[in-house]
């Protein structure tokens, strides 16, 4: 039924216009608010300004928060890559029996919401032999679990699409050692797919608020925590932050989309 449908009736058209208005209205309002000098009781603001953006970029706390977010996300994603790449490779290629177990592990972060995970983490690590509650370590560990599903699915799917097992066998037949076959043959082939899950994980972590707030909210300020703190102070400044944040996420997802298209084309052609 999909594919042949070409002409959409006016019912569908107006429905979609309504949906898009509904979905985009909050975003649009934030955008206008970020550029408005003041906006009260008129359909559109009467005066525009860039003041809020310049105020934002001159705020040392904003720059700090941005850096904190960037490096926390980068460290977590890098750690996840280092741990997950070999693990998923071994499981997919050598231990297919483990896949059922892996499916459970991967679903668990969906079934255990951030609030619940935070409660468990705080209790497990606030006392006893490993007391890392309130430190970046516990946050990085929690982030690792948050992005686990994306990483696992991404790496596994790319391994399956390039038929890693066949590649590996051919490489070994030609005399390459197993490590070399992995590094020189499998890794370059799955790289685009891995890149996609890396970017996706990065954007997921960038928007993380629950765990950050509950685990280290008092002393580590990521961009989300900063935003939350500024909500009460100036609405215009906060919308400037929201818009910058959203533009960043948008750029990431555009790169993601292009990469996905490129990869799909590579597979088909």
């Amino acid at each position: 039924m999909i594919g042949q449908a070409k002409k959409a009736g006016w019912v569908n058209r107006s429905l979609m216009i309504a949906l898009m208005c509904y979905l985009l209205l909050p975003l649009l309002a934030t955008l206008i608010y970020a550029f408005a000098k003041e906006w009260q009781a008129t359909v559109l603001p009467e005066r525009w300004t860039l003041e809020w953006f310049s105020q934002m970029f001159s705020d040392a706390r904003f720059i700090d928060a941005l850096w904190t977010s960037l490096y926390l996300c980068a460290i977590s994603v890098a750690l996840s890559l280092a741990v997950m790449l070999p693990a998923v490779f071994i499981i997919t290629v050598y231990l297919p029996k483990w896949e059922t177990f892996m499916k459970g592990v991967v679903v668990l972060p969906y079934a255990v919401p951030g609030v619940v995970a935070a409660v468990g983490l705080i209790r497990a690590y606030s006392s006893g032999p490993v007391s890392i509650a309130g430190t970046p370590y516990i946050l990085i560990g929690a982030y690792f679990i948050v992005i686990l599903p994306y990483m696992y699915q991404g790496i596994r799917n790319s391994l399956l699409t390039v038929s890693a097992v066949d590649l590996l066998n051919s490489a070994e037949l030609l005399g390459a050692s197993r490590t070399r076959a992995f590094a020189n043959v499998v890794l370059p082939n799955i790289w685009p797919g891995v890149m996609i899950s890396t970017l996706l994980s990065f954007s997921v972590l960038f928007g993380e608020f629950v765990l950050t707030n509950m685990l280290v909210g008092g002393h580590i300020h990521t961009i989300q925590i900063y935003l939350y703190q500024r909500l009460g102070e100036s609405g215009h400044l906060a919308s400037a932050i929201v818009i910058s944040y959203f533009v960043f996420i948008l750029a990431l997802s555009l790169i993601l989309m292009k990469l996905t298209q490129k990869m799909n084309r590579g597979i088909q052609g």
């Binding site: 429905l15 070999p86 468990g120 997802s253």
Partner: protein, 310 residues
């Protein structure tokens, strides 16, 4: 060969360590914490009893359940209609619509709450405009109350519902429609007797995900109503987080309750995915006669086919 294999498994050690330390240990700790005595060893269900006897916490649980069920139900209806509508457009527009939905599904949590405050908060643009125009329909509307929360929850549930339901429309084949039409079934008859029943597993599966999503939503509610509204997730947050830990055991108990509800919802989704695979994919226990049908059904469900092949 054997020995080399054994070395390869060493690559799993960091992975197992991370899973054990940050996924399994917290869950176990939460479970033991909910039944541990305050001082001394032993098991007690006293904290569960305390929660069940407290009208305050029971209210939080029912509030959360209600808001999750209502927002999921509204979102699934909107999502279903809109997902179908999207399938009627040309591929190019379809992609555009899906991209926008995908983009807005990123718009959640604190930024979303903030956008709604700009629009409909007590000094919001629309609030002031409506007041000026004298529309008193919205006079009783308060963003920081029950109706406001529902509105915002529905907003972040709709794109998710739409994106999750959209692929299942691939499962309805044009031939079925033609066959039904030849046998004299109208549009309404087709959807009520064929279309919707085929979609039912997908609908309930998506409902499970939406419900879990709403139950666990913390950032949006926290940014919107702070501690002022009695929701389970917000209650847990205020019991555990912050510098003052008042009653960690109660927090553990409430967290177990919340996790139980979301686990159940995700389990529903899992069961329903298996079900819908019976329609689209190929159940292994099917008799041989179905083999021929299986092969032409495959392309209709690329995702499940890939699962099957692996």
């Amino acid at each position: 060969m054997k020995r080399r294999n054994r070395w390869i498994y060493a690559g799993l050690i960091p992975f197992i360590f991370m899973i054990a330390a940050f996924q399994i240990a917290p869950i176990l700790s939460m479970l033991t914490g909910s039944v541990a005595r305050e001082n001394g060893p032993g098991i007690t269900f006293g904290f569960y009893a305390q929660v069940l006897q407290s009208s305050y916490y029971l209210k939080a649980i029912t509030n959360s359940l209600l808001i999750s069920i209502i927002s999921s139900a509204i979102a699934i209806v909107i999502g279903l209609v809109c997902a179908y509508s999207i399938t009627r457009f040309s591929p190019k527009i379809r992609d555009l619509l899906l991209t926008i939905s995908n983009m807005t599904s990123n718009f959640a949590g604190v930024p979303l709450a903030f956008a709604y405050i700009i629009l409909l908060g007590s000094n919001g643009v629309f609030t002031l405009l409506f007041k000026q125009w004298g529309w008193d329909v919205f006079q009783n509307f308060n963003l920081f109350s029950w109706s406001g929360l529902i509105l915002v929850y529905v907003y972040f549930q709709v794109p998710l519902a739409l994106l999750l339901l959209y692929p299942s429309f691939f499962g309805i084949r044009e031939q079925w429609r033609e066959a039904a039409a030849l046998l004299g079934a109208g549009k309404w008859k087709f959807w009520s007797t064929i279309g919707l029943p085929v979609l039912t597993p997908a609908i309930f599966g998506t409902l499970g995900i939406l419900f879990a999503n709403a139950m666990g939503a913390y950032a949006t509610a926290y940014a919107l109503v702070g501690g002022n509204y009695n929701l389970l997730a917000v209650r847990i947050g205020s019991l555990v987080a912050g510098n003052v830990i008042n009653q960690p055991q109660l927090g553990n108990v409430l967290a177990v309750v919340l996790a139980a509800s979301t686990l159940l919802a995700v389990y529903l989704n899992h069961k329903m995915t298996q079900r819908s695979r019976m329609f689209n994919g190929a159940p292994s226990s099917e008799p041989v006669r179905a083999h021929k049908r299986r092969s032409w059904l495959r392309p209709a469900a690329p995702a499940s086919a890939k699962e099957e092949l692996s």
